[in-house]
Each structure stands twice: as structure tokens, then as C-alpha cells.
Symmetry: C2
């Protein structure tokens, strides 16, 4: 990268970080636990949110911000579960930025307990753009192979909770979920691992407990 490009990038990241800090303060003030949900496309993030909506004890109120390059489809799926959801379409951008969350913030109910932000399906770019959330949750599908952590060490080193999803397919694809978990523990010894099968609901209670619910 040329010097000029590096400077512009630094400015962009700096401005994102500042807005993320402001969002974080407002979330803490409102006592909302917030989760930045990251993964490759198709790993089962939205299905996992549908299951979380079904398993969350009714005394807690959740909402979801959906990030996608195009389409309102994911937000519609969440709304069908009776959960408030806002769709951000980035129109080509490979990640959400804090300022996009900031624009929606005024619409978030004051009595909320748990806010999920489902990032754009991409394991690279979102790592550089914190959104002000408490917790980073990355979903890996076993169908993506057993080398996902080794190929993306940066994002996993900063991830608090990993859900290894579609474990019901592990035998069919010849992938050992324990191997993925072991790789993650190497780059992040303090992180939590949960094995899930979003389609059937397996592991969703454990995931909620890993998030503090």
C-alpha cells in the first residue's frame, strides 16, 4: 500500500473506533448486552439467532441488527419469530461499520437486554471494524473444513465465544469438531467453545449460558 492509502485507512479505522466507543458507552448505560456475530456466509448465523429467540427465557428481551450486502431476507426471518430486527444493506461493502449501527441506535427499545448484530458474512474484513459490542461470537460450520482457525488466526484471537455449528454433519464431511476447538484454544486460551446444531437446536442453551444468559 502507498503512504497515502495507509493514511486514509488509518483515519477510517480511527473514526470507526471513536464511534464504536460511543456506542459501547450507550449500551452499558442502557444495560444492554451486545454481541457482534461473525462468520463466513452460510455457516448458520441467522438460523442460530432463530433458535436463540426460541430458547431465551421470556423475561429477557432481545433484538437483532442484520448486516448484509443485499436483501432484507435475514431481518424478515428474525421478525417472523416476533423479535424486533433492523436490516442494514451495505450495497457492496464487506463489513459493518460503527457509524451504521449509530444511525439505528435511536430506534432500539430502552428495555432491551440482549442485542445481536449479525455482521456481513465474511471472516476477514469485519475483524478491523469493532462495533462497540461487549462480545464477539464467531460461528464456524464444520462443513467449512477443519482449518478455519488456522487460516484466520487474527479474528479468532479476538473472539470471546466460538460456536462450532452443524456438528450433526461432522461425520458426513469427515471433520472433527474437537480439532477446530483445539486450534481456537491455541490462539485464545480464555475463549469459550460451544458445539451447536442450529437446525435442531442442539447446544443453544449452552451458547446462551456462555453469553451470560
Amino acid at each position: 500500500m502507498k503512504k497515502k492509502e495507509v493514511l486514509v485507512l488509518k483515519e477510517l479505522l480511527g473514526s470507526n473506533k471513536k464511534i464504536a466507543s460511543e456506542i459501547r458507552e450507550r449500551l452499558i448505560e442502557k444495560r444492554i448486552l451486545s454481541v457482534n456475530l461473525l462468520s463466513s456466509p452460510g455457516s448458520g448465523k441467522t438460523t442460530l439467532l432463530e433458535r436463540i429467540a426460541e430458547h431465551l427465557p421470556p423475561r429477557y428481551k432481545m433484538a437483532v441488527i442484520e448486516g448484509d450486502i443485499e436483501t432484507e431476507r435475514d431481518a424478515e426471518r428474525i421478525r417472523e419469530k416476533g423479535i424486533p430486527a433492523w436490516q442494514i444493506t451495505t450495497g457492496g461493502a464487506c463489513h459493518l461499520e460503527a457509524k451504521m449501527i449509530g444511525k439505528i441506535f435511536s430506534q432500539i427499545p430502552v428495555d432491551l437486554d440482549l442485542l445481536f448484530i449479525e455482521n456481513v458474512g465474511n471472516l476477514v474484513c469485519p475483524a478491523d471494524f469493532p462495533l462497540g459490542t461487549d462480545t464477539d461470537l464467531v460461528v464456524i460450520s464444520v462443513t467449512e473444513g477443519d482449518d478455519m482457525v488456522r487460516k484466520h488466526p487474527k479474528i479468532f484471537a479476538q473472539t470471546d465465544v466460538v460456536a462450532i455449528n452443524k456438528v450433526d454433519l461432522a461425520a458426513f464431511v469427515g471433520v472433527d469438531p474437537e480439532r477446530i476447538a483445539a486450534d481456537y484454544r491455541k490462539v485464545n486460551p480464555h475463549g469459550k467453545v460451544v458445539f451447536t446444531a442450529a437446525k435442531t437446536g442442539k447446544g443453544v442453551e449452552e451458547l446462551l449460558s456462555a453469553l451470560g444468559f
Copy 2:
């Protein structure tokens, strides 16, 4: 984006396009068919290349440039098949750029017939950075769900060939590969679709034929 950011991005894309044109000219001059291989992480790109190496008639010579954020693993897997392979590690960047290919160009054997460039596992960013190849081949795994084309219309509109992979798992994940194919034909009526199962080699002959071999 601010005006300054837009200008820097335009400059970056313009410089990439120029180098891509130079690479394209050199590939045509050497009569090498070149393929930019794109997908989300874990869709089976490298396994598909291993199968292609096994099925390509011996009169043709192939080579592979591997793009990854980290690790030499993919290039090693290809070399084990007796195929020359070069690894580019982007160290965080979410896509390959034409200048990275340019640096390797002098090492490419002159009698090559088929050059695959396996891009970084990411369906968003590589769409903006042409590499000078003849053909864009995108791999979708059925395990990623049936909405991959609808969520990434831009990349599929410019894709010449789509391999819908892991079709042996379609029934387990409840995804109809024909639905993905229909979505692709809507955004790109001239594209070719091949159904593959890289693990077993199913569809690899058809894929080679779709690429002109």
C-alpha cells in the same frame, strides 16, 4: 465514504485494472487459459483443484497460484499432486490484487496450458479486483444454504462458470442445488453451471469441459 477515501479507492482500483490488463496480454501471448477461482472459505476450492489435477488429460500442463490470508497449507496440498504451486499470503488483506500475481509471473513455466488462481476465501472483496484471468469460476457449497446468489448478485453477474459443490450433502442440509442454479441463471443467463462433489470427483469432468478442456 468521504471524498478523499473515494479518490484513493478509485486510484487503487485503476492501478489494479492496469496491471490486470498487462497480465491478461501476457497470458494470451503464452496461450495459457487462466481461471480466477472464488468462493467463501471452506466451500471446497482446494479439493476441487486436487480432483482437477487428477482428471486433466496428461497432455495438458496446469499450475496453481494459491491466495490465503495465512499459511502455506493449500499450496502444499497442490504440490503433493505433482502440480507446481505458489502461495501468496496476504497477511490480512481480503482479496488478491493483480500486482501480487505480477510478482510471480516470471516463475510460471512457458509451456503451461491452464493456470488456476485460487483467491482468498471471500465472496465480497475479490469482485472488485480483476486479476487478468480469462474466466471467473465461483464455487458454492450447498451447505452454505440456498440464498448465496441472492445475497451476492454482483459477483455472480460477472461469473462465467459456477460449480455448485458438495451436492452429495444437499439432502442432509435440505438445500435444492437447482434453486441455486436458477438464481444464478437469473443474474447471468450466459453462465455455465456444473454440479460437483469434489470429495468423490463427481462432476469434475463436466467442470473441465465447461472450462474448455
